[in-house]
């Protein structure tokens, strides 16, 4: 009778120990998890640059308009879409003709709502039809002159 009791205990104990052993062995097949640190950094946009000019001095005359040819340089590693081109300062002659610069009578019509795409790290050109105007206030010294039209450009990535 005593022997029978001991056998039951032994069986229960063995089962328990078996489970313990099995779970311990299961842990032995380890899964190595590790961690680490790093970072991701967004770039900062570089400013777009441009050169703007009328198609030719002969195109402008008092009371007339001319097309404006513009080249946008995108130094960023991603494409941009130019949405606005606005006048940004006095329009003067490229050869600094002081008499003409005193009264060029030339104005630039700002452009908005554009979808002018410039690829990454490249340049692109476009023409704004009739965007330059010369008024009757233009000095006689402006005949044959070429004008520089400073502009500011607004765009976004993509």
């Amino acid at each position: 009778m005593t022997f029978k009791k001991f056998s039951k205990r032994a069986i229960v104990t063995s089962l328990f120990l078996g489970v313990v052993l099995a779970s311990t062995v299961a842990l032995a097949s380890w899964l190595a998890t590790g961690t680490g640190k790093g970072y991701a950094k967004a770039t900062s946009a570089l400013p777009l640059t441009t050169s703007a000019a009328t198609l030719g001095s002969s195109s402008l005359y008092p009371g007339g308009s001319a097309d404006v040819y513009i080249t946008v340089n995108n130094p960023n590693p991603y494409p941009v879409t130019v949405t606005d081109v606005a006048g940004n300062g006095a329009i003067v002659t490229t050869d600094n003709n002081a008499t003409c610069d005193g009264a060029t009578g030339v104005t630039f019509t700002s452009q908005s709502g554009l979808t002018f795409a410039v690829a990454a790290n490249s340049s692109a050109s476009t023409t704004f039809a009739g965007a330059a105007h010369m008024s009757n206030a233009s000095d006689d010294a402006c005949q044959g002159e070429t004008f520089s039209i400073p502009v500011s450009i607004t765009g976004h990535s993509g």
Binding site: T2, F6, R9, A10, T13, F16, L17, V20, L21, S23, T24, V25, L27, A28, S29, W30, L31, A32, T33, G34, T35, G36, K37, G38, Y39, A40, K41, A42, T43, S44, A45, N76, P77, Y78, S157, G158
Partner: protein, 143 residues
């Protein structure tokens, strides 16, 4: 007699537990002094991200063990970015979970590529932002 049986049972229990611990200790590589803290590590960074950018980031995984491991998964958690414009939500950055089977020799490193995407909708304020990343590496011993 009862005391003796209890003693025998306790001894058996201790012995089996000891065997189990020893088995685990033998299976887990590395010296006992370092084992508790030594794990595979990952590090990697990427710069020049912009809205819509999809780039491959090099993540270097180090195997600190004296036996080869097989890397099966690398995940990265992105935290809120900070920069000169303020903060930028972590959600603008997506880092694809890397899954595969790459063996790293004992105490060696291996470089793996993880795809990083910045959302095209990332706001202007995210310019120049730095996002802290935390990697999780899962690996198993090479059989």
């Amino acid at each position: 007699m009862r005391r003796m049986r209890t003693g025998v049972t306790a001894s058996l229990l201790i012995a089996v537990l000891a065997i189990g611990v020893m088995t685990f200790a033998l299976a887990a590589p590395g010296s006992s002094a370092k084992r508790a803290h030594t794990r595979p590590t990952a590090k990697g960074a990427i710069t020049n991200l912009w809205p819509g950018a999809v780039k491959k980031m090099t993540v270097t995984v180090k195997n600190p063990y004296p036996k080869a491991i097989v890397v099966k998964k690398i995940a990265a958690k992105v935290a809120t970015g900070t920069g000169s414009f303020g903060t930028c939500a972590a959600s603008v950055l997506r880092i694809k979970v890397w899954k595969g089977k790459v063996t790293i020799k004992p105490r060696k490193t291996k470089r793996l590529l993880v795809v990083v995407t910045m959302a095209a909708s990332a706001p202007n304020s995210c310019q120049g932002t730095r996002f802290p990343l935390t990697y999780t590496v899962k690996a198993v011993p090479k059989k």
